[in-house]
């Protein structure tokens, strides 16, 4: 088990004030953090700023930082809080009301049926399946999107996810079930549309 060991050493080195460790930590986690941030908001700059804030805050308070077992989950928890705080501040600023609190926090993934059509026509077929899955995930409710990403892209356990998303394990299970149901439906619809398009083109 080399990875957890070096991760612990890296974190200890970071906490002792080693600037190289800071840079290595950034290179190791900038991608996972960024991709995770994308599930909470579509605002790219906000995610980047939040990652910077997270790492700098940790660095400045490194003496108070605990030794952690699951560094990635620890970082995700911190990033999530920062992003939500920033979104909250933006929302207050924009004074926008919405029934579903999370829907407004998601930032926008505005993909209506028309843009799916446009996207499908523009994309090449190899690119198509990736694109349509991306679209389908983007259309999921925010919490489901987040759960599905943590589970299948970042490979996290229900325990870790529950801690990061600050809900019970059972709730995580429900998010996952609903998300997969939603994805399947969306994928089927898109597949059907492709079939119709193909029939139309061939006729």
């Amino acid at each position: 088990m080399e990875r957890p060991l070096s991760e612990t050493m890296l974190w200890d080195s970071f906490r002792s004030g080693n600037e190289d460790a800071f840079v290595r930590l950034f290179h190791l986690y900038s991608d996972p953090l960024f991709y995770y941030g994308c599930t909470i908001t579509a605002d790219r700059e906000l995610i980047k700023d939040s990652i910077q804030e997270l790492l700098c805050d940790l660095w400045e308070r490194r003496q108070e930082c605990p030794a952690v077992q699951k560094l990635k989950a620890f970082l995700f928890t911190g990033l999530r809080r920062i992003i939500l705080r920033r979104l909250q501040a933006n929302r207050r600023y924009l004074a926008r009301e919405d029934e579903d609190a999370f829907a407004t926090q998601t930032g926008e993934y505005p993909v209506g049926d028309e843009s799916i059509e446009a996207a499908i026509i523009r994309q090449e077929t190899s690119e198509l399946s990736r694109q349509r899955l991306r679209t389908a995930i983007g259309n999921l409710p925010a919490r489901q999107r987040e759960a599905i990403h943590l589970r299948y892209y970042q490979g996290m356990s229900y325990e870790e996810m529950a801690r990061i998303m600050e809900v019970k394990k059972g709730t995580i299970g429900r998010f996952i079930v609903q998300a997969i149901e939603g994805l399947r439906r969306a994928m089927d619809q898109i597949l059907l549309f492709c079939l119709l398009l193909l029939t139309y083109l061939l006729s």
Partner: protein
């Protein structure tokens, strides 16, 4: 793994199954066999499994946006490093700010005002000293406030005051070597003085070279006339064009005037040092002065070998090459030192 277990699995169940996910992600040979067997046994599960497989593959690779590109990462890193360095410089901003408000601030304002007054006074009254220094292998042309021209050779320093009045004598201080072309000031009769550790060259208007390396100062006069005040001697020395004088304040010997070829003493002006019948010891000494490199000569008998050569002063490699070829020596580089064999 038991195939029966998967007989009634839904897409959801497959997605949650660690063995299934591992097979999709890593595709081990023995796993392939297991799932092929499973499909032969339960062909009705084919569609469900295919959907699950597509989703696992897709989800493990799909991100909602394109990742950070290298430029974005570099920019983030630069910003963060700037922030944490700023932080390092003021380790405890809160406490310092507190003290500053109560006590330090008025003091700081008073200090700033005092500094401003001092700066203003210095700008208006005090003459600024200008210092020009050349590095090894570097030369610089300087125009003095009166229009006189100076060519400062490598590894040399010239100092002078920024504002020269119309009545005072013109003075420059030299360490190293420089060539002067002095503007004549016949109406005001202002003297021009070059001051070295060993002597002062006093002129009205003339072209000459001063070299204050090697614990002595060499003055070569190309045209016009100059007078030397030698440090520690009462007697003053008048020089004629084409004459060369070397003097050191250590031995205080009244120097003899020598007639020399102009080219040998001002040749560095043309980016070459010319040597006539010069021993290797002297040549290496000059190269050392100009480029700041050291030499180790294995066989000391080489030191006294003489040669006629021209050595470039702004290209060390060519200089080394010239010496090696002329004396048929092998010169190798070892760190900052050249080994001569």
């Amino acid at each position: 793994m038991n195939a029966n277990k998967y007989a009634n699995y839904s897409v959801q169940d497959f997605l949650e199954d660690d063995d299934f996910r591992r097979w999709v992600m890593q595709s081990q040979k023995e796993d392939d066999d297991f799932w092929a067997d499973f499909l032969i046994q339960y062909p009705e599960q084919k569609d469900t499994m295919a959907s699950a497989r597509t989703l696992v593959e897709g989800l493990s690779q799909t991100t909602l946006q394109d990742g950070l590109n290298p430029d974005e990462k570099q920019e983030m890193l630069t910003r963060m490093q700037a922030r944490i360095r700023r932080q390092n410089e003021k380790p405890n901003p809160l406490r310092i700010r507190h003290r500053r408000q109560l006590y330090r601030q008025p003091l700081a304002i008073a200090a700033s005002i005092l500094l401003l007054i001092l700066a203003g006074w210095w700008l208006l009254s005090g003459p600024a000293t200008i210092t020009v220094t050349t590095a090894y292998g570097q030369r610089q042309s300087i125009t003095l406030p009166d229009g006189s021209q100076v060519e400062l050779n490598a590894n040399s320093t010239l100092e002078y005051e920024s504002n020269w009045t119309a009545t005072e004598d013109r003075r420059v201080w030299l360490t190293g070597e420089a060539f002067f072309e002095v503007e004549k000031k016949t109406e005001t009769g202002q003297k021009f003085q070059v001051i070295t550790e060993d002597l002062t060259v006093e002129v009205l208007g003339t072209v000459f070279n001063v070299n204050s390396r090697h614990q002595e100062t060499e003055v070569f006069l190309e045209e016009g006339s100059i007078r030397l005040e030698l440090e520690g001697l009462e007697e003053k020395l008048l020089m004629e064009p084409g004459e060369m004088v070397a003097y050191s304040e250590h031995n205080k010997q009244l120097p003899a005037k020598k007639q020399v070829q102009a080219q040998l003493h001002t040749s560095w002006m043309d980016n070459f040092l010319f040597f006539e019948n010069a021993p290797l010891r002297q040549i290496l000494e000059e190269v050392k002065d100009i480029y700041g490199v050291g030499f180790e000569v294995a066989d000391t008998s080489h030191y006294s070998r003489t040669m006629d050569t021209a050595i470039p002063i702004e290209n060390l490699d060519q200089a080394i090459d010239a010496i090696g070829k002329t004396l048929n020596l092998d010169i190798r580089k070892l760190g900052d030192t050249y080994i001569v064999e």
